[in-house]
């Protein structure tokens, strides 16, 4: 967009790509986020030194922090995101449920305030019927969350949820809602300018989750038709408008098997999975965020939003599926990354890079786009086959398993799908394929070992890599 921008870095990010791509760069502080990326005061100091007009908070750290948004407002530096008031109105899950009622949008039956006592919980559960879910109002990531199937279990679950919530979020506020059976997680991307226009950019299907963490995201959802999309989209827009929301946000829903949808919560920021929406809508969400923050009216109306094709995103992590998905830090000793038609990868990894042990081990977002879901699955499978990461364990094999699973291919998925798949024994391959592959592996091991013993010079650059060029000879036109 031609807007000069400055970046900040903590000491461990000194050589990160974002530093190199910016027009100016400033040291924020030491490695721990509490001393750098979570220090709004330091950020504002730097913004003033850089004479910045606006701050883009990214999609982590302070991006959902209403106090920081407010501090920006006071410093007259534009926070590229919703106003602090809207963030507060939708920040706690109970307040968001109240907002949903105000906007007349469906939500799961249950409380819209913290439970005052066990008695209130027992009464409400009896009224809406078991099974129910207890959830922390300030919650996230599955903490302070308990499923209760029988009345006699409610007391202990209530107490555990409260104490977990207190420990994790500093608030023991817990509410109760009816459990939706095998729901899908469907979320709507909304975009609102500062002139009262708000549109929705279709949905994302994020039902493939493990421990309440998204693993695969898709757009569009295979089960959302135009009418359902309109209903969910309009509900999301009503919620955003009722809270005075502006900029980009995501309204999360559960969808049951009778196509009834229930408000879950709102994410008041750009999300990790926003590329899948960009690919099917053809829009650039970050640019649109900046235009909105500049006070421009939205240049696109709801009717201009057209979905085209299908996108699947896999979140590739340094973790060991054979060992309880335990993180697997270490040095990437060899790396073969996929490419070609419809494949995009957002990552900063490279051969020789050491995956650190101190942070969330996401390595890469691997994204496949194609005209249809079937073709997108095929492209993703090809990309996964081409992808090899040595030196650390990754969840690549898990994605191969999911994408080859007939239920996934038929889009018979819900938020419990992945846990069920993982509890099944992995199908073994046909035995003769196994023998062939063992023979192959034996031969390959012998070849590698004999290379290893040979002088390095005999492991020469083969002439045969002329490949592609030969095929393209004579094509220059």
């Amino acid at each position: 967009m031609g807007i000069p921008f400055a970046t900040v870095y903590s000491d461990v990010d000194r050589t990160a790509p974002h530093v190199l791509e910016s027009d100016e760069t400033y040291r924020l502080g030491p490695a721990p986020a509490t001393e750098s990326y979570l220090r709004g005061d330091l950020l504002l100091d730097i913004a003033r030194r850089a004479q910045a007009d606006a701050i883009h908070p990214g999609y982590g750290f302070l991006s959902e922090n209403a106090d920081f948004a407010e501090a920006c407002e006071e410093a007259e530096i534009k926070f590229i995101g919703p106003p602090a008031a809207a963030m507060r109105a939708l920040g706690s899950k109970t307040r968001a449920r109240q907002a949903a009622d105000k906007a007349g949008m469906p939500r799961t039956p249950g409380s819209t305030k913290g439970l005052a006592s066990l008695e209130e919980a027992l009464d409400l559960a009896a009224e809406i019927g078991y099974p129910v879910m207890l959830k922390a109002a300030a919650g996230g990531g599955g903490k302070g969350m308990r499923m209760v199937t029988r009345q006699e279990d409610l007391k202990s679950a209530f107490e555990t949820a409260q104490s977990e919530a207190e420990r994790a979020f500093g608030s023991n506020e817990v509410y109760l809602e009816k459990l939706i059976d095998r729901p899908r997680h469907i979320e709507i991307q909304v975009l609102a300018d500062e002139h009262g226009h708000c549109i929705y950019l279709g949905e994302r299907e994020c039902s493939i989750q493990r421990r309440h963490q998204k693993v695969i995201e898709e757009a569009p959802s295979a089960v959302v038709n135009a009418e359902l999309r309109r209903q969910m989209g309009e509900a999301a827009v009503r919620l955003a408008k009722s809270a005075g929301y502006t900029n980009a946000g995501t309204v999360e829903f559960l969808l049951d098997d009778r196509d009834s949808f229930y408000f879950l919560e709102m994410n008041t920021r750009l999300q990790v999975e926003h590329p899948v929406t960009e690919l099917v809508t053809g829009l650039d969400l970050v640019h649109l965020q900046i235009r909105i923050a500049q006070g421009e009216p939205l240049a696109i109306a709801q009717d201009d939003v057209r979905l085209r094709g299908h996108t699947i995103e896999c979140r590739i992590y340094a973790e060991d599926p054979d060992n309880g998905f335990f993180p697997s830090p270490g040095k990437i000793t060899r790396l073969l990354q996929p490419g070609g038609p419809g494949i995009r990868e957002d990552s900063g990894i490279y051969e020789g890079w050491t995956v650190p042990m101190d942070y969330d081990p996401m390595l890469s977002k691997l994204i496949a786009y194609a005209p249809t879901r079937e073709e997108a699955v095929a492209r993703m499978l090809r990309a996964l086959d081409e992808y090899v990461i040595c030196g650390i364990r990754t969840n690549l094999a898990l994605f191969r398993r999911i994408l080859k699973d007939p239920d996934f291919q038929a889009a018979r998925i819900d938020t419990g799908y992945l846990d069920r798949l993982l509890s099944e024994t992995n199908q073994t391959m046909p035995s003769n394929q196994g023998e062939e592959q063992t023979a192959l592996a034996t031969i390959a091991a012998a070849v590698f070992e004999s290379h290893r013993n040979a002088a390095p010079s005999t492991v020469a650059q083969p002439a045969n890599s002329w490949k592609r060029n030969a095929r393209e000879e004579g094509l220059r036109r």
Partner: protein, 163 residues
């Protein structure tokens, strides 16, 4: 060149002549054309089908990546007495518990001299905010305990020895 390769607990002999398209596995002739695409990456054609095989170097246990699977192997060198002995002595001798990843020791569960069962936890390591319990490979006695809570370890460090 004749090599002994162990995969999935089974050792096979491979006779391989660089440049030739024929190999023998356990004395049986097989036609396979293995060409190096670049160091660590082979293109192998067998029965008209091409496979990419990628080498994951590792001191103790190298592995191959083949058709989306990771296959660990071991080179058995029959000329190496040391290798034979290490291999043969496997089940009975003292066994080390090694760190399978870098991290910090958060807890030591057993004490030197303790008797432990196979698969009983001995040391707990934390990395990336998750904890992992490292277990005894066999029933026995904790002969040595080389770390204590708070220590930083790197992959392969010996944490304890069970005898």
């Amino acid at each position: 060149m004749k090599l002994y390769i162990e995969i999935d607990g089974k050792t096979r002999s491979v006779e391989y002549t660089p440049g030739a398209n024929a190999v023998k596995i356990d004395g049986v002739d097989m036609e396979a054309d293995a060409q190096q695409q670049r160091p660590g990456v082979l293109s192998v054609i067998m029965d008209g089908r091409a496979w990419r095989v990628v080498l994951e170097e590792h001191e103790d246990e190298p592995a191959l990546h083949l058709a989306g699977k990771r296959i660990a192997y071991r080179l058995d060198d029959p000329r190496s007495l040391k290798a034979r002995r290490a291999h043969a002595g496997g089940a009975d001798g003292p066994k080390a518990i090694k760190a399978s990843m870098p991290g910090r020791v958060v807890r030591v569960v057993a004490q030197p001299g303790d008797l432990v069962e196979a698969h009983q936890g001995v040391v707990v390591i934390e990395a990336m905010k998750m904890q992992n319990e490292l277990k005894s490979p066999k029933s026995g006695r904790v002969a040595e305990l080389r770390v204590s809570a708070g220590d930083t370890v790197v992959s392969g460090d010996v944490l304890a020895v069970i005898e």
